[in-house]
């Protein structure tokens, strides 16, 4: 600093710093229960990476139907989101890509109500546009000459991949084990991997960049997606959002994205 700071500036800086600390402490808004329309509020939805496109669409429709309500979305690997929620992240709704991960949150005492299954999803063999590796079936995932991207067994899509590969009797030779399914998809979109196992919905979401290879045995394990309100301050808005996801309109959006019915 070249000039002497004024008292006001210092005080402002102090209050900004304190406000920041307050914000970092996290404060979840609690909406008062009003019959009929919802109070103006922001709800934070933590959703599995595979739900990115469909939940963005659902949130937009929900906001349009309820003026003053804002839906903040945070996407990531289900297990990462679960860990964040158990550490006290300010989420109001959690949508997981598998039941085991949701169970961790339930067992940790972070859910306010029983989880409900709202969609199903199956893995599929996917390749970059043009199939440069000449991939035809699950057996190709054992080819050390190909660049193979899979989810790590620690995350839902990886656990499902393990089930699928075990059922097919294939010992995969992965080149990278990713943190969430979108990371695997990115490897395929960029052409860095010749093949990978992603959800059917991901292939639809990736458009022309990725091709689906219809292969025997990829449906051996199907993921069920549970959704639940989380946090002590469970809000009417959070409950309403979950109801919307499970409504006919919400199910239509999910079906368009390639999800199966619960």
């Amino acid at each position: 600093m070249t000039r002497r700071p004024r008292r006001g500036a210092a005080a402002a800086a102090a209050s900004v710093a304190l406000l920041t600390v307050g914000a970092l402490g996290g404060c979840s808004g609690s909406g008062a229960l009003t019959p009929g329309d919802l109070p103006a509020a922001t709800i934070t939805v933590f959703a599995a990476a595979s739900l990115t496109e469909s939940f963005e669409a659902l949130a937009a429709e929900f906001e349009a139907a309820h003026p003053g309500v804002e839906v903040a979305l945070s996407f990531g690997g289900s297990a990462t989101l679960a860990s964040q929620i158990l550490e006290g992240a300010p989420a109001d709704v959690f949508a997981s890509a598998d039941e085991a991960t949701m169970r961790r949150v339930v067992d940790g005492g972070a859910t306010a109500a029983d989880p409900q299954i709202f969609a199903t999803n199956a893995l599929t063999l996917a390749v970059p546009a043009g199939n440069p590796g000449g991939v035809t079936g699950l057996a190709d995932l054992a080819d050390p000459g190909l660049a193979i991207a899979l989810c790590a067994p620690e995350v839902p899509c990886g656990a499902t991949a393990v089930s699928v590969l075990d059922a097919a009797g294939v010992t995969a030779a992965p080149d990278t084990l990713e943190q969430d399914v979108k990371a695997v998809l990115t490897r395929l979109v960029l052409g860095e991997a010749d093949a990978g196992l992603v959800y059917r919905t991901d292939v639809i979401a990736a458009g022309d960049a990725v091709e689906q290879i219809e292969a025997e045995g990829t449906d051996a394990a199907v993921n069920a997606y549970p959704i639940a309100p989380v946090g002590a301050a469970e809000t009417a808005t959070a409950r309403e959002f979950i109801a919307f996801v499970r409504s006919d309109a919400g199910q239509g959006v999910l079906a368009d994205a390639g999800f199966g019915a619960p």
């Binding site: 005080a11 600390v21 990462t80 660049a147 990278t176 084990l177 990713e178 943190q179 960029l190 860095e192």
Partner: protein, 261 residues
């Protein structure tokens, strides 16, 4: 110093220190020995130490000459000098993930150079241990360059001129005068460079991927461990924190010279 500023300073200190305090407090001390010596952690530790050592060696070989060039550029026209300095500074300020994307676009299978490598030689760089080293070199070389350059501009360079007037060749001056002159700076820079390489995460996961024993370094392993075993993630974090503290003690006051315009 006005009282409100003292308050802000204390808040600032808390922002920096409290997270690390939480890490130490929440650490599973009882299980720590077992966690730190588990097979996946040891594998990641070994990979991290090997790659960070190689990266540091590469940074030394490439970075010392670059630091000399930077020091000599003091006599160059201003635009040249600024461009050179900016080129070294940018990786320091760039989010590592962006560095990883940039590396992918250069050396990936469809990258500017990587495409040619793959087609002509059948060489692919991503998903290899070499990719980990490249990512580490990209993010950590600036630390070495600035440390050495700081030592060069702070040193008394007249001995070099004296040696030159006495008939020493440029190589002789470099080997017998310049290098010993900046040796402490090189050592400090190498340690900083090694630490930064050891902690590299974003560029590694983006460019090299994550495979046990091949590309899964300690930070990447820690990030994945959060999915299934948070205690293991904390244990790895403590190992990395211990390394950082050890480096701090080792260097004492020889801190990296700031980025000076």
């Amino acid at each position: 110093m006005p009282a409100p500023l003292v308050v802000v300073a204390v808040v600032a200190l808390a922002v920096l220190v409290l997270p690390l305090v939480a890490l130490v407090v929440r650490a599973p001390w009882a299980e720590l020995p077992a966690l730190v010596t588990s097979a996946p952690v040891l594998e990641a530790l070994r990979l991290s130490l090997v790659t960070a050592s190689i990266a540091t060696a590469v940074c030394l070989a490439l970075g010392v000459p670059l630091a000399m060039l930077l020091a000599h550029s003091a006599d160059a026209p201003a635009p040249v000098r600024r461009l050179l300095r900016a080129a070294v500074t940018v990786p320091l300020l760039l989010p590592p993930v962006v560095g990883g994307i940039a590396l992918l676009l250069l050396l990936g299978r469809r990258g500017l150079v990587g495409g040619w490598l793959a087609e002509t030689w059948g060489v692919t760089i991503p998903f290899t241990t070499g990719a980990v080293v490249i990512a580490q070199v990209f993010v950590s070389m600036p630390f070495l360059v600035f440390a050495v350059e700081g030592a060069l501009s702070g040193a008394d360079r007249r001995v070099e001129q004296a040696a030159a007037t006495l008939g020493a060749s440029r190589w002789q001056v470099f080997r017998h005068m310049t290098l010993p002159l900046v040796a402490p700076g090189i050592a400090a820079g190498a340690v900083l460079c090694f630490t930064r390489a050891l902690g590299e995460f974003g560029a590694t996961i983006t460019f090299a991927g994550s495979l046990p024993g091949v590309t899964r370094t300690l930070p990447v392993a820690s990030y994945l461990a959060l999915q299934s075993d948070p205690d293991e993630a904390i244990a790895i974090a403590l190992v990395l924190l211990a390394v950082a503290v050890a480096v701090l003690l080792l260097l004492r006051d020889r801190w990296v010279p700031g980025v000076r315009a």
